[in-house]
Amino acid sequence: MNISIEKKKFIDAVYKVARFAERKSATLPALSSILIIVSDEGIKMRATNLETGIDLTVEGTRVSDGVVAIPATLLQQIAASLTLDGTVTLEHSGDIVSLSSGMGRSSIKTVPYEDFPSIPFPENPKNSITLPGALLRTLLSSLTSCTSNSTVRPELASIYLSIEGGVLTAVATDSFRLAEKKIPLTNKGTQGKLLIPAKNAVEIAQALPDEDIAVSFDDHHCAFIGSMGTIVSRLTNATYPDYRQIIPKESLAEAVVLRKDFEISLKQTAIFSDIFQKVNIRFDPKKNHISFFAHNTDLGESSETIPAHVNGSMLDLSFNYRYLSAALALSQSESISLSAAGPGRPLIIRGVGDASLLYLVSPMNQ
């Protein structure tokens, strides 16, 4: 094997691929390596941790073909130390790969690649949708923060994607709050449901390019295919709870506020929240404002009032402020609407003029 790659592309590729390699050292050495395949199909870099895997196509000059596996952390360290201009040449002889860039030259011991598992690419997937990579990337990365960290319920530690009637609905919840985003699709025929483990979604989002991506899936795994190559992930094999049941149909109080106002007041009040991060919100329809209040026995207390358009009746609710601020990251709208179903019942946050988002957060006990 003998290849040369532009340094910038090499660094970029190594960073993307290395994330998919196994980080625990106790397993197979091949799993913590990057496999470089040079053949008629071009230069490819592969890595997998058996949960998710990547097969990335890298642009470069191909002198001779071959396969080699190199420890991922080592390649990552090398990539971090390279300057941006010029090219990197990799030459393989025996069990040594010599990597030369500019004036430098290093010999790297390779790992036996026979143990490197095959990455299961769906050959003729039943279902496939196409959507812009940039959109998918923000969708996955913003929703992962709303999933549960615990692995006790694997379905809650996953992002739920449901494709129906030309709309992709993505949902994440950790049972305290729930985020739902809807994205219209171009091809309307496909239907299906998939549960992507949140842990994998983070890695996938990092590696996705901006251009259109085809997402194909079957019962057990899914693939993200684009010009850059293929990323596969195992799917969580569980049933997602019927979350629609918990969304309240009616509302007792509704408020529309400027997103900026909401963000600033929440931030300032949150300073005085207690160990439970509790912030109280009062809907006041008479004075047409909503007020934030937080009390901490050690620090003191704080209240903030912002003008709002309030309908319905007076209502007091308490929330974990972090669950409230998380909603802001999901919508870009100038104003947001809050609708509360009553004391002890969840609050729904939407972006005004942005029908795609629904964010539901459960109140804390008073």
């Binding site: 197979l28 058996l50 095959s118 299961p120 057990h220 969580t236």
Partner: protein, 450 residues
């Protein structure tokens, strides 16, 4: 092995696979898999976590697995791979059997600062036997009418007999019975130190006031006041002050008031002026009761056999007995079950007095040397006074320390009758109590013999 039992079959397969592939491979690929079912057609379904595994199994391990199952029986026709639901391969957490962990509670060591009393010592935990019945009754009577019935109450007995327990129990009971009245416990050594400190700091008056305010004063181990004349004088005054105002005083010591050496006569008289009771050596039944109660307090039931063994193996000190029981309890907690007699023997070996195997000749030599007489004369039939006494001491030591039978001692020491030996032993035993000189001699000889 039951061929139809998926679990057993899989375990067998794993042992075979482990031999043929590398440990890293085995851990990566086989840790999370299992046989889901075996159908009637002879197809074995192996459950794997994801597509990665399914592909790799088909590619790499299919032939191997098939060979292994076929090796067991030709009934197995094929192997299929299934991707199983996440919750089905959840690792079953190993649940450790929660042992009845009985920690040594810290409050056992807790001491009340204001009165120095340890709340652990109460009458509830005090075991009354014939050896301490009198002392217990006296203590109860004192509590009925403090300062009037028996004032002072003087309790004496050898170390580890429960003196401290009894007098502290008086203090704790007093607090309970007469809330609002003040009790105070201290050792005579603490009293002496306190006094010296106050003299040094020039606050002797405050010292006097401090001790005069108590309604019940308990002083432990007064024998240590011997030779401390000024402290004795201070105690004398304190005694008078308390006694005159009908405040109860309780003393403890390892010997009767009259036997405390180097203590002024007027104090000696006052110590003996109330009630002086002794606590004797606990009998076997009492020791058994103590062991049972101690063990029960820690939630452990010991068999009668064990209790009897422990009670018989230590005589005298209850403190040593407690130590033994604690050892047993500790062993029981570590092992999770009460130990049996064999284990007890093993674990209590360290508590046993070392079995000394010293020849009679050796003892005779040492004693003769100690008294500066010819060792031959010990064996002779002479009745010279300087020989008789050492001879009796030898008999006493052989009997007491080495448990040699009376007839044997007699035969070894020149063919004497065993009644002679018995008489000698009894005589020395009697004398050693009153004759401190003799006691000191025997103590010295014992150190020579070790």
């Amino acid at each position: 092995m039951d061929r139809k039992n998926p679990r057993e079959l899989w375990e067998y397969v794993l042992t075979q696979v482990e031999l043929s592939i590398s440990p890293a491979n085995f851990n990566t690929w086989f840790r999370n898999s299992f046989i889901v079912k075996i159908d009637d057609e002879g197809v074995v379904y192996i459950g794997v976590p994801s597509q990665f595994f399914k592909d790799w199994y088909l590619k790499k391990f299919h032939a191997l697995l098939l060979k292994i199952v076929r090796g067991i029986s030709y009934e197995f026709r094929n192997i299929e791979y299934l991707i199983v639901k996440d919750d089905r391969r959840k690792v079953v957490k190993e649940s450790k059997p929660v042992r009845g962990v009985i920690e040594l509670p810290l409050h056992e060591f807790y001491i009340n600062k204001s009165d120095n009393l340890n709340p652990r010592y109460t009458f509830d935990t005090f075991i009354v036997g014939s050896f301490n019945a009198l002392a217990h009754t006296a203590a109860q009577a004192t509590l009925q009418r403090p300062g009037i019935s028996y004032n002072p109450l003087f309790i004496y007995g050898a170390t580890g007999r429960g003196k401290t327990h009894l007098i502290q129990a008086i203090g704790n009971q007093f607090k309970k019975q007469y809330p609002g009245r003040k009790a105070f416990y201290l050792t005579s050594e603490k009293f002496a130190v306190d006094y010296t400190d106050s003299v040094q700091a020039g606050t002797a008056n405050r010292f006097k006031d401090k001790y005069r305010q108590y309604d019940l004063l308990i002083m432990d181990d007064v024998q240590f006041l011997s030779k401390k004349e000024k402290t004795q004088e201070e105690l004398f005054h304190l005694f008078n002050a308390l006694y005159d105002t009908n405040k109860q005083i309780v003393f403890s010591s390892d010997r009767p008031p009259v036997a405390i050496p180097d203590i002024t006569e007027r104090l000696k008289g006052r110590l003996a002026s109330g009630m002086a009771v002794d606590i004797g050596e606990p009998d076997t039944e009492s020791r058994m009761a103590i062991i049972k109660k101690k063990a029960a307090a820690h939630g452990i039931m010991l068999s009668d056999e064990v209790v009897e063994y422990v009670a018989c193996s230590i005589t005298g000190s209850i403190r040593e007995l407690e130590g033994m029981v604690n050892t047993i309890i500790c062993h029981a907690q570590v092992k999770g079950s009460p130990p049996d007699i064999a284990e007890i023997r093993q674990s209590l070996r360290s508590f046993m007095r070392p079995q000394k195997n010293v020849s009679v000749k050796n003892v005779v030599d040492k004693v003769a040397e100690f008294y500066g007489i010819d060792e031959e004369s010990i064996y002779e039939k002479t009745r010279r006074r300087e020989v008789v006494r050492p001879r009796q001491v030898i008999m006493y030591l052989l009997r007491e320390d080495f448990n040699i039978s009376y007839p044997t001692i007699g035969t070894k020491l020149g063919g004497r009758d065993h009644t002679t030996v018995i008489h000698s032993c009894e005589k020395i035993k009697r004398e050693v109590v009153v004759d401190t000189e003799l006691a000191k001699e025997i103590q010295n000889i014992r150190t020579l013999l070790v």
